[in-house]
Amino acid sequence: MARLIGEVILDLQNVSLSFGGVNALVDISFDVREHEVRAIIGPNGAGKSSMLNVINGVYRPQAGEIILRGEHFRQMNPYKAACAGIARTFQNIALFKGMSVLDNIMTGRNLKMKANIFQQAFWMGAAQREELEHRAKVEEIIDFLEIQHIRKTPVGRLPYGLQKRVDLARALAMEPQILLLDEPMAGMNIEEKQDMSRFILDVNDQMGTTIVLIEHDMGVVMDVSDRVVVLDYGKKIGDGSPDEVRGNPEVISAYLGASH
C-alpha cells in the first residue's frame, strides 16, 4: 500500500462519560493517526457507539479532552465536528427518507456551498454554477460507490445494504479528513460485507481519508484496520495492531467468556 501513516490527528485523553449512574466510558485514551484505519471493537454494550458519539459531539463527556489537530476541546458538537472535517455514518441508518439518493448525497455538500439564500431563491448565476460544480463532485462519488442505477430513487425504497452505501456516500460528499463509521457492516450478508470492506479500503487508499471504524465482527475488523482499540464495559482493555490484540488474553476473555 502506498499510503503513509502520518502524525496523530485526533487524540482522546481520559474521556469519561456517564448517564445518570451508568458509566458508559471510563477514562479512555487513544489516538488516531492521519491516513490510518483505526477500529474500535468490543462486545455489545462496551461503549463503542458512545465513543463515536463523543468524537462527533452528540454526547458531551464529563471528563477528558478531545485534541483535534493540536486544538483542545472539552467537548464537540455535531455541527462543529462537521466544520472541522469529521463526517460520520450511523448504525441505524439516518438518511433523509423522503429524498432521492442524489439529493441525500447533495446535502453532504452543504458546508461547501457559498451562494446565499437570495442568490438561490432567484436562481442567479452564482448559485446555479455552484450547484453544477457540486453535482459533478457528487456524481464522482456515486460512480466510486457504484450506485449510478439508483440515484433518482427515494432512499426509503432501497434495500438495507444499499442504504448503508448511500449513508457512506453522503459522508464522503463532505470530503472529510476523518470518517467515523458506526458498524458499517451490521446486518449485511457476506457479499455486501465484502463490498463494503472494499469501499472502506478504497476510500482510505485513494482519498487518504482517516477512518475510525466500529464493528463487532472481528474477522472484518482484523482485515481492514491498522490498529485496534478494544473496549469492554466502558473500559479500554486493549490497544495495538490486529495481531497484538488477537493475542491479548483480556480481549479473548471479553469476547469468549471468562474461561480460557
Binding site: 455535531p78 455541527y79 463526517a87 439516518a94 433523509f96 429524498m99 452543504n110
Partner: protein
Amino acid sequence: MGFFLEVLIGGLMTGMLYSLVALGFVLIFKASGVFNFAQGAMVLFAALAMARFSEWIPGWLGVDNLMVANILAFIIAAFLMFVVAWLIERLVLRHLVNQEGATLLMATLGIAYFIDGLGQTVFGSDIYKIDVGMPKEPVMVLQGVFEGGLLINKEDFIAALVAAMLVAALALFFQKTATGRALRAVADDHQAAQSIGIPLNRIWVIVWCVAGVVALVAGIIWGSKMGVQFSLVTVALRALPVVILGGLTSVPGAIIGGLIIGVGEKVSEVYLGPLVGGGIEIWFAYMLALVFLLFRPQGLFGEKIIDRV
C-alpha cells in the same frame, strides 16, 4: 349547474386561503417538530403592522400614493416578521432543543399571547383596515355557457391567485435550491442533518421567517376582507382542521386539505344547511377533522405513525 359551479368556485377560493394559513403550520412543524400555536398571533401581528404602517407612512414621508405606501408598509412589515422570527429562535427555541413536544407547544402558546399583546400595545387595538386596492365588485363570467353566467367575487379570485402563487413559489424553493434541500433534510432527521454540517439554528430562523411572510400575506388578504381586528387570530384556528386533514408533515396535504375544507364548507352550507337550519359552515370543518382523526390520524398525506413494539 351554474349555481353549483359558483358555490364550488367560491369554496375553492376560500380553501386556497385556508391552505395559506395551514402552510405556516406545516413549514414549522416539518422543520422543527413544533406545533406553532403562535401562527394565528403572527397573522394578526403582521396584519396590524401592515395596516398601521400603510396609514402612517403617507404622514411620515409626505407621499399620498396608496400603492407606494402599501409597498413600503409591506417591506417594513416583512422585515418586522424577520426580526420576530429571529428573536423567537434566539430567545426561546434555542434553549428548548431536544425538549418534549408538549414543552415546545406550551412555549409557542406563550409566544402567541406575547405577540398578541405586543401587537396591540404597539399598533393599537381598534379595528383597522387594509386597503391594497382590491376590487370589491363581483364579475360575471361565462355568460354564453350558463344561463345567467357565473358570478365570481373578484377580490376572492385575486386573493386565491396570490395565495396559489406564493405556495407554488415556496414549493419551487423547497425542491430546487440548496437551502430548500437543507430544509427538507432537517425536516427528515435533525441529528443526521447536523452531523453533515447543516446549522439547525439557521434553518430554524429561515423557516420562521418564511412562516412570518406567509402569515403576513395571509394577514393582508384576510385583513382586507374582514378588517384587521383581534378575531384574525381565529383564522389560524380555522386552518387547524386543514392540517389534520392534510397531515401535519405534508405541504401538498396543506393545499389539498385547504381546498377540500373550503369546498366542503360552502357546498354543505348551501345544500345541507337549509335542512338543519343553517350554520353548518362554522362546524363542518371540525366535524370532518374529527372523522379523519378517528379513521386516518396521520391525515391524507402525512407520514404513517408506526410504533415499534
